[in-house]
Symmetry: C2
Subunit: 154 residues, 2 copies
Amino acid sequence: MIPTISAFEHSPDGGRGQARDMRVRWALEEVGQPYEVRLVSFSMMTEPAHLALQTFGQIPTYEEGDLALFESGAFVFHITEQHPGLLPVDKIIRARAIAWMFAALNTMEPPTVELEMSRLMGYDKTWFKERQPMLENLVCVRLRELSNRLADAE
Amino acid sequence: MIPTISAFEHSPDGGRGQARDMRVRWALEEVGQPYEVRLVSFSMMTEPAHLALQTFGQIPTYEEGDLALFESGAFVFHITEQHPGLLPVDKIIRARAIAWMFAALNTMEPPTVELEMSRLMGYDKTWFKERQPMLENLVCVRLRELSNRLADAE
């Protein structure tokens, strides 16, 4: 069954993976799973047909036969369960790999998204110039912690 | 094997579940799994012993024999894999339940944490009074979308 994901129709890259569809495309490409892409406009994302697939009116969505999912993390995890090779087999190492998946979504992504959203949507705020370096610093702190861990693991 | 989680020693509730340890305690209590709690101070959280368990210097951590995990979402998922009853057995319904787990962490939590962090740490900023209602609105938007979905599901 060929899955279909959705992506932005009008993003600067024309929905070719610079948004949250990237991680899903990446996982599908890694396992050699063909997939189809349905591009959606910002107005389509507010319509009932899209909200039925994506409660929060976002992209990507994932449809595969009777299965309709939202949340890109859930798609990636679903792909790991369907295809060998993305997660380790050893139970303890697998649990740790899953922990890093959550870290990517729940610890690394939020400050990164906050910085980007401020840059894209908040540049007209009176506090933009003073606040932006603080947001950049939060991202740098996380990246430094991650880098320290990777150095320890070498 | 009795797992040990860590929690804040000096939070207003004395580490009894009002931080990200709540979701882990909740899952453990649901399946009747006893657990131990190690309280850590803010200075302990910056020390190498803690950073070896939690790359980003946060709580909770989860230790169970040879397994040491970080990221509360990963603990909850690990508990669902060890104990029946938390996730549905049917594959499609299970995948959808997992999607909601990611939604809680990756869609509902970030604006909620941003609002709370602003309230706790950002009250002295010049932009606090003007920005706080915007943050409250972002949380309300997500809660409304969630509420609409739950109403549809009835």
